[in-house]
């Protein structure tokens, strides 16, 4: 939090926040939770058209496929955690986006993994690469959601670092959509899934003596051990609960933990919440209310249900051996109140948590485009160089570690222009992601337009008509004027690109502060797209018959 924000909080609250309140505010006012540096610009993106059932604003977007079928889609980054602990970071990244899809009431049916690394010549980069892939494989495979495509890129600028983005789609009947906010008071808040530990409580946010005795603890708090076993049970139990029609609101616990999930759930339509923090099942001894409220322990979901339905819903959790607890209640008054062993330890106007002012940083254009001289090598040499580049070679080593066939829908499998999933006997859904950071670095506007165009071309290449887009914006510190400028240019490019094709963004994600040894990463917008294709019209890129003519179309 910046000093002027602390001042503002004091002013709005009329007093100093206490320790627990301060911790919750720190989390909610963080860039990650509040989108304070990006929100203003994201508003430029087109988000509505005839395909969009629900645009950005909740855990994932919803797209109309046909009258009886809706597709839920979202994308997430897990860059920092994966750079520290690639296996756990990448795996929990998968877990997080899958729960985002799940909490709209949809069954997750496919994943894409755009991943980026430094050059493979270095031991550390190889380690990051191998374990990011293993983390995605182990998690996706164990929860039975196929990873059907992605992108893999190696670039000097990512030495010692990694960008791990994951997109997920889910399938549901439109009438089963569950929102992430409540529209009535008196609902019980039920926390389901894993016990809460000290995961994800960052050393940077607190004076260190409050957090832990030694420095290693702080590292440790940045990583989490993935638990796909519990996640799979959560998927099945949640869908069964949703089918009862008695889940009034649903959210997963991600960044910001219980504080974020419950305050957003309550505050969106002006309600409040009371949380009894001591009721939260704890994995570690001697946890305090602050730790419990902001812990980012994985594989947890928050349900809002009416009192009279509690029994029916919790029986489902018990069937799946999932631990559940009523941790609080929705109240009429728009306040956020936390109790600990009968004592009130936090009491804030709820909008102080959910209504965070935006920040506009200084933006400064740069121009590094210059004329390019064609290297003087033979075309044969050039061809071999290109074909043997890790960026071009087959990615089969990766996707063969992913169960890309589970659930029995994968019609076009990894290795083609886009994956296609069978949705019914007649139609399939095409799914693809693209990004070109080197292009974006040279010219962020054109790089972004290019990413959109590439998605659209890849969808068209398999015979699909584009339906909707999501975007994941991986950038360095927005406090760097050049970075902030490139971010704004990127948004403009994404906007114009989508408008040119009549497309809308239904969800997205922003990840700032991606820096390697104090050097900013290249602007890295990743765009993922959905398309609808009649199975009979499917097209693949292989040449079909001898004697067929080959043509190039375009400029």
């Amino acid at each position: 939090m910046f000093p002027h924000e602390e001042e503002l909080i004091k002013e709005r609250l009329g007093r100093e926040p206490n320790e627990v309140e301060k911790a919750m505010l720190e989390v909610m006012w963080s860039e990650h939770a509040s989108y304070k540096s990006s929100r203003k610009w994201l508003k430029l993106l087109p988000t509505k058209n005839e395909h969009v059932i629900l645009g950005p604003g909740e855990d994932a977007g919803v797209v109309k496929f046909d009258d009886n079928t809706a597709i839920v889609v979202g994308i997430e980054s897990h860059n920092h955690p994966s750079a520290v602990e690639p296996y756990g970071g990448a795996a929990t990244g998968v877990g997080g986006i899958v729960r985002d899809i799940l909490c709209m009431g949809a069954r997750p049916i496919a994943l894409l993994d755009p991943i980026r690394f430094g050059p493979l010549e270095k031991e550390r980069n190889r380690y990051l690469f191998e374990y990011v892939v293993k983390g995605i494989a182990d998690y996706g495979n164990r929860i039975g959601v196929p990873t059907v495509g992605g992108e893999t890129e190696f670039d000097e600028s990512l030495d010692n670092y990694t960008l791990v983005n994951v997109a997920c789609i889910g399938l549901m009947r439109p009438e089963e959509l569950v929102h992430s906010y409540v529209e009535e008071s008196g609902l019980l808040l039920v926390l389901v899934g894993n016990k809460t530990g000290r995961d994800g409580i960052h050393g940077v946010t607190f004076a260190s003596e409050e957090l832990s005795e030694n420095a290693e603890e702080e590292d440790r708090s940045a990583v989490q051990i993935p638990d796909p076993f519990t996640e799979k049970l959560l998927i099945e139990a949640t869908l069964e609960a949703v089918h009862t029609g008695k889940v009034k609101a649903l959210k997963d616990l991600g960044g910001g933990g219980l504080t974020c999930a419950s305050s957003e759930m309550a505050g969106k339509k002006g309600f409040g919440a009371v949380i009894y923090a001591d009721r939260v099942p704890q994995r570690e001894p001697n946890m305090n209310p602050m730790e419990i409220m902001i812990s980012e322990s994985q594989e947890r979901m928050l349900f809002a249900v009416r009192k009279e339905d509690l029994n029916e819903i919790t029986k489902i959790f018990e069937k799946y051996d999932l631990e559940w607890t009523v941790v609080g209640e929705i109240i009429e008054e728009p306040r956020y109140i936390v109790y600990w062993k009968g004592k009130k330890v936090a009491d804030l106007p709820i909008d102080l948590l959910t209504d965070v002012p935006t920040i506009e940083w200084k933006a400064k254009p740069y121009n590094i485009e210059k004329d390019f001289e064609t290297p003087k090598i033979s075309s044969q040499e050039a061809l071999i160089k290109v074909l043997s580049s890790p960026n071009i070679i087959s990615k089969a080593w990766i996707w063969q570690q992913y169960d890309h066939e589970v659930q029995g829908r994968t019609v076009l499998k990894p290795g083609l222009d886009a994956a296609v999933l069978k949705i019914n006997d007649e139609y399939g859904l095409a799914f693809v992601s693209d990004g070109n950071p080197s292009h974006s670095y040279l010219n962020p506007y054109h790089g972004a337009v290019g990413a959109v165009a590439e998605v659209v071309r890849n969808l068209a290449s398999v015979g699909a008509k584009p339906l909707a887009l999501v975007d994941n914006l991986n950038f360095a510190s927005p406090e760097r004027p050049e970075v902030y400028w490139s971010f704004i240019e990127t948004i403009k490019g994404l906007t114009d690109g989508a408008k040119a094709f009549g497309l809308a963004y239904v969800s997205g994600n922003v990840s700032f502060y991606n820096e390697v040894g104090n050097k900013p990463i290249k602007p890295t917008p990743v765009v993922a797209g959905l398309g609808k294709v009649k199975l009979e019209n499917l097209m693949t890129m292989d040449f079909k018959d001898e004697g067929d003519l080959i043509a190039i179309v375009g400029v």
């Binding site: 293993k134 494989a137 182990d138 495979n141 164990r142 929860i143 039975g144 796909p228 076993f229 799979k232 049970l233 069937k319 799946y320 051996d321 996707w399 063969q400 570690q401 992913y402 169960d403 890309h404 066939e405 589970v406 659930q407 029995g408 829908r409 994968t410 019609v411 499998k413 069978k422 399939g428 199975l535």
Partner: protein, 222 residues
């Protein structure tokens, strides 16, 4: 119509598509949570997935579940019991089939399409195939490396090349004798690592697997 239980353990994940394949083959099928009973079923399928996340050894914990006692009873009544992938691992771990499934020779998960040679067309699950027939379907496993020292095993499927030759190159996981599927002596219990349910729809790349289910349904009618 014979009715099959498709048993769902915590972490099973091929249950829905397995039910679909059985229905397509002319049988009735129901997902059955592992805490329930197998009364009124004419056969059982243990589908693929990661029961108990493969912790300890793939299939080890599910094999000790109470419901496996009922499965054993059905087996001795002569009813068909099919284990696919994780289901195969559960069958060996529970002693219903001899041998063990060990980590692949390259100890990583491997998902790809393979050819299989049908070595035994006399079991409850292969009667619609011909001996020596070559079929195509995907594998997706990390522990599919079959090992046994028991002579009491019928080799039903072997990894082969496109022509049906059982070669070293065609062996994806290091299995003894390229074994991809085995049955008990009586032929009413089959375990196989490849996924016939993923090769039961023309859009998914092959319908070669459907005959496993058709054979099983036919057998259960007797």
């Amino acid at each position: 119509m014979p009715k099959f239980a498709v048993i769902v353990f915590p972490g099973t994940n091929c249950d829905f598509e397995t039910v679909e394949a059985i229905k397509k083959a002319g049988g009735e099928a129901e997902r059955v949570w592992y805490k329930s009973s197998l009364k009124d079923f004419d056969g059982v399928v243990l589908p693929g997935g990661f029961s108990y996340a493969d912790y300890l050894r793939a299939g080890a914990i599910s094999a000790r579940a109470e419901i496996m006692e009922e499965v054993k009873a059905l087996v001795s009544e002569g009813k068909p019991v099919l284990g696919i992938c994780n289901g195969f691992q559960i069958l060996t771990e529970s002693g219903l089939l001899p041998g063990a499934l060990r980590p692949n020779k390259v100890p990583r998960f491997l998902c790809k399409w393979v050819y299989l040679r049908v070595n035994d067309a006399q079991t409850a699950f292969t009667q619609f195939y011909k001996e020596g027939e070559v079929i195509r379907m995907p594998i997706a496993h990390a522990e599919g490396n079959y090992y046994t020292d028991s002579p009491k095993v019928r080799i039903v499927f072997q990894y082969s090349n496109e022509k049906g030759n059982v070669t070293e190159d065609a062996n994806p996981n290091g299995s003894l004798l390229n074994i991809a599927g085995v049955s008990n002596e009586k032929g009413n219990v089959l375990g196989m690592m490849p996924h016939p349910e993923r090769a039961s729809d023309k859009w998914l790349g092959s319908e070669d697997g459907l005959k496993v289910f058709k054979s099983m349904v036919e057998y259960a009618k007797r």
